[in-house]
């Protein structure tokens, strides 16, 4: 079989090769750009959407909380991130549950020691004394539990603590 390559063939081949190069570059740049846009959109969606989705699922205005003190040690440690299930009535929590309540200083997460007629007695596991009685309406939620223990993400709460500083 005879093969003859002319100068015109070489030039045509060269031109085709030269033409393909920029097209390939444009395609890869566009692909990369789309990849980045999708990545950023997913990230923004996660950051903004996760608390909103959790707020809806857990029926809580404050679905996540960072532990800022060691008063519940060793159950909850400083820097832990916990999830809060909203509470609408006094029957939705029991003695032994870990609840979140509002107080003049902000929020406190402590364990329920006793349910009285008009107030709830709470205490931090690592504290020696009981807290000031808490009104039922000040209790906003209880920690989400998994296998009988509060579901927590260690260290993640440090980000929130650092941002608040």
């Amino acid at each position: 079989m005879d093969i003859s390559i002319t100068e015109a063939d070489i030039m045509e081949n060269f031109e085709q090769h030269e033409e393909q190069k920029p097209i390939k570059k444009k395609g890869s740049v566009l692909k990369s750009l789309i990849g980045w846009i999708v990545y950023v959109a997913l990230l923004v969606g996660l950051v903004v959407g996760t608390p909103k989705a959790l707020s809806y699922i857990l029926k809580s205005e404050y679905p996540m909380a960072a532990i800022t003190s060691g008063s519940m040690w060793p159950t909850l440690k400083t820097g832990d991130m916990v999830f809060i299930q909203g509470i609408q009535s006094r029957n939705e929590f029991e003695v032994g549950d870990i609840v979140v309540y509002k107080n003049p200083q902000g929020f406190t997460i402590h364990r329920v020691e006793e349910k009285q007629e008009n107030a709830v007695i709470t205490k931090g596991d690592a504290n020696n004394t009981l807290d000031t009685p808490v009104k039922y309406e000040d209790i906003i939620g209880k920690t989400v539990e998994f296998q009988g223990k509060p579901f927590k993400i260690p260290l993640l709460g440090n980000i929130s603590i650092m941002l608040n500083k």
Partner: protein, 135 residues
């Protein structure tokens, strides 16, 4: 693009070497406390190779000191990081501070045993980094 990659790779290697050197140079201590039954039980066990807080009963505390010295010719930045189960119970009186050449400083580590502690041995680690202070 290739040049950028080489520069980034170079920076990464330098950062990794810096981190390894700082890790080797850091003062690393093992911390341990033995929580025992009873009231006001305090049995000090002073050892030099590790920070042993000895036997302690609940609602008790004890402090031990670590001395940091700057024997070099430039300012250093001291940063301590705690790890492990005992880390939550140990409080440092100072952290993240600058030490001038020839200066010496003491960091006090105070362990407090809360009523919720179990009677067992708790351990942890503390790494004290001495980083060159940026000018």
């Amino acid at each position: 693009m290739a040049k950028v990659k080489i520069v980034l790779l170079g920076l990464g290697v330098v950062a990794a070497i810096f981190a390894i050197v700082q890790f080797i140079n850091a003062a690393k201590y093992e911390m341990v406390v033995n929580v025992v039954e009873g009231e006001n039980v305090l049995g000090l066990n002073p050892t030099t190779e590790r920070l042993d807080f000895g036997d302690l009963s609940r609602n008790n505390g004890i402090a031990r000191q670590v001395t940091i010295e700057n024997g070099g010719g430039m300012d250093i930045f001291v940063a301590a990081f705690k790890f492990g189960e005992l880390a939550s119970l140990v409080k440092l009186d100072r952290n993240f501070f600058v030490l001038k050449p020839g200066e010496e400083a003491q960091i006090s580590l105070e362990v407090s045993i809360p009523p919720s502690a179990e009677t067992k041995k708790y351990d942890g680690r503390i790494w004290i980094f001495r980083l060159p202070k940026p000018i």
